[in-house]
Symmetry: C2
Subunit: 457 residues, 2 copies
């Protein structure tokens, strides 16, 4: 009795046409990262557990996958290895470990899968790609780098062509300063920002009620309450006028610093060619309290707000405090490619009408001409074309059906008749139902095929 | 006290220059696979244990890494997941699972990492890349596909330029037939072939002695013993004359079938443009008994025979017997990219003199011109160049040192003087010690930079 072939739940495994589309998406992301000179890094899928789990347990640790060889498992030892759950901890370990061999500011991209022991539910992946860039400074990192991330995002999502999108930026210092100005004690900041993060997802009134619940009695000393705080965050028009709204709060040094940073990042991003129509200052973007300390980014597809942010990140004070005493500030963004791809595929934003890898399929019409088929394929490959030879001696109809299912653009037919006439018949299968046919000279096959493939050139 | 940042033993983690070289190697392999129209497939890093470990334990199972989430670990359950140890079992599972949605012959490539719980010793990796192609037929697979694999190997290793290489081919049916002809009982075949695999690695005489030890008494009924068997296998000159040596054994139907197959694969490979000087028939190539059933391949770097085969594979009867009743014969090859890369790096066959990802670094000479630097970078990027902007306001010397360490070909200098003169100074850092300088017109920067980068065009 055969074992039922199946994948574990929570993984994305694709059929070849979808895999091709996904591959092209990853290639576009990589090209976008390289366009800004980021360097590739890959780290092992597992890390030593003491290296990976430096933080004190909690939510993250519950989702970790531990790894043990057969021997270690039998001995009942505590696992020494665990799968990475993000690319940030491995980056911190990498930079701390190789610090003296790296060139700072260190700009790296990393496109690899990460693992989370998520409960099994739709849209939750246990294995998924993250595509990250980070710039890490030694001791300091100029603010100029904060303006780069939105430009990278803009380049990539323009090329991916998933429709209109908006990059939202904000600054955590600014938020922090406002929280103080509005009278919240530091220990309540996290709770308030947690609610702020809901702005734009649920009703403002609902958010106000939730913030009130954090501290039901508003002391008289406070001039403004949750309502005016939320109103302020939502008053931003997204452009430079937003800074006018904030002017009354500039007596706070933290607010002033945050504003200055935000203004420079905004202007720097525009200078890098991101159109103002696609860049929005949104004071309600908060992104968790303990990690980001300055600029924060989120990205939304205008026509699909329900997807939430499709590319996020920000500036942090110190990357690798767990591993080194060096101060390593950084700024980075991350694209969760697996979730994004699978959602856009489901919504038909990503189509799978992609052509095959092969551009040309050489059919086997006459077995005595096999060596000719090999030669034709070799000539075409030498010119940089992707070419497949149908190896079986099946009927022409079966071979053409294979070509059609594979979405190969051109099929070459070369039987004894064509051989004698010195031509090769090419069937253009791109049109759908009716295939166009051309007779190409055998002696000039490569150039002729290239012309049929790209009539414009 | 910080945790010491370190990787687990047995993994290859690279610094960016090496990672770039490795990335280019993987890209070349991928391009080589796509040149023949193979389709990309990726499978999850882990499989369900009952799916992965269908075979009855043994050596392989001992090297498996099991995976458990925190919860499962605490409950002391048997692990449900394990990391893949090759790409063949996942391919079998994939093809069986998606059989009805695939287009046969199914041609897939897969470039992913695999995991083995190896003992910790030099050259043994616990995590390493495999780069595989396979063509899988439904019920049957024409022999024409066997001739393709060496052509793919030839294309890839020619482009990788690791030096001269030779592809060796043989046929398992032929070996099997000869074993019978030489009087070995089927149950001894595996042991004899195990010794045959040593031919070329140790002395022939030593191999003969070892084969004799399998069956010390040679019955009188046998006309020929281990010595003449070994002499026969070694008599092959590598070219078509090899078949003459085998003619006396053609009364065996198995030998005759193996010979016919080998001849067709040999000739088919030549027709695909592989030069006869790089293709050798080697009757001593055996490659383990239980999996391969026809054509087998090995590939050697002529100047580095000690590396052993750097790309191997063969034809098998049935891919997925554990998962489906369908008969799925196939043929494939595999490149162990991690081991090959690390060895060639150590031997200096692969250099790490690669240029950075960025082709141009825009220096920050005058902070008031930041917006100009952004615009220049954006113009160059729009033309497809990879460009980095140095974000800090450091001294010129420090910025140039960064450029030099990063191996960026060109650094652009644009201060108030250049601004007023309408030029951009470009430092060509490729020469090593003395950087060449050019003044380029600001108004025609893109074309001018492209000319400096590629003077030939």
């Amino acid at each position: 009795m055969p074992v039922q072939p199946r994948t574990p739940p929570g993984v994305m495994e694709l059929l070849p046409p979808q895999q091709l589309a996904f591959q092209r998406m990853l290639d576009t992301i990589r090209r976008g990262f390289e366009r800004f000179g980021f360097l590739p890094v890959e780290t092992p899928v597992f890390e030593l557990t003491d290296v990976l789990l430096t933080k004190s347990g909690g939510e993250t640790e519950k989702q970790v996958y531990f790894v043990q060889s057969t021997g270690a498992l039998k001995e009942g030892k505590a696992p020494e290895l665990a799968l990475r759950f993000d690319l940030t901890v491995p980056l911190a370990r990498y930079v701390a470990q190789h610090e003296h061999q790296l060139n700072f500011p260190f700009r790296r991209y990393q496109i690899q899968r990460v693992y989370r022991g998520e409960r099994n539910q739709k849209g939750r992946y246990r294995e998924f790609y993250q595509c990250d860039i980070d710039v890490i400074g030694k001791d300091t990192l100029p603010l100029a780098y904060d303006a780069e991330a939105p430009a990278v995002i803009h380049g990539i999502f323009s090329e991916l062509a998933f429709g209109a999108f908006t990059i939202k930026i904000n600054n955590r210092k600014l938020l922090q300063g406002l929280l103080v100005a509005f009278g919240w004690e530091p220990e309540l900041h996290q709770a308030v920002l947690h609610e702020v993060d809901r702005l734009g997802k649920i009703d403002d009134a609902e958010v106000i009620t939730r913030i009130r619940a954090i501290k039901p009695e508003v002391p008289e000393s406070l001039q403004q309450g949750p309502e005016s705080f939320v109103r302020l965050l939502r008053a931003a028009d997204g452009g430079p006028d937003t800074f006018q709204v904030l002017e009354p709060y500039q007596q706070s040094a933290t607010v002033a610093e945050g504003m200055a940073e935000l203004r420079r990042v905004y202007e720097g991003t525009l200078a890098l060619g991101v159109p103002a129509s696609q860049l929005t200052i949104d004071l309600s973007i908060a992104r968790g309290l303990d990690y980001y300390t300055g600029t924060v980014y989120e990205t939304f597809l205008d026509d699909h707000p329900k997807l939430g942010s499709i590319c996020s990140g920000g500036r942090y004070e110190n990357l690798a405090g767990h591993y080194t005493k060096s101060r390593l500030p950084g700024v980075g963004i991350s694209i969760g490619a697996t979730r994004l791809f699978s959602q856009l595929l489901e919504m038909n934003v990503i189509g799978v009408n992609e052509a095959a890898v092969a551009q040309v399929l050489v059919l086997t019409v006459d077995p005595t001409l096999t060596a000719d088929y090999a030669r034709m394929a070799t000539e075409l490959r030498a010119a940089g074309l992707n070419v497949e030879v149908y190896g079986g001696e099946d009927k022409l109809g079966k071979q053409l059906k294979y070509a059609d299912r594979a979405r190969v653009p051109l099929a070459l037919i070369y039987g004894s008749r064509e051989h004698d006439a010195g031509i090769v018949k090419v069937k253009d299968l791109r049109g759908g139902g009716e295939a166009k046919e051309h007779d190409l000279p055998r002696g000039d096959l490569v150039a002729a095929v290239q012309r049929v493939l790209r009539p414009e050139s």
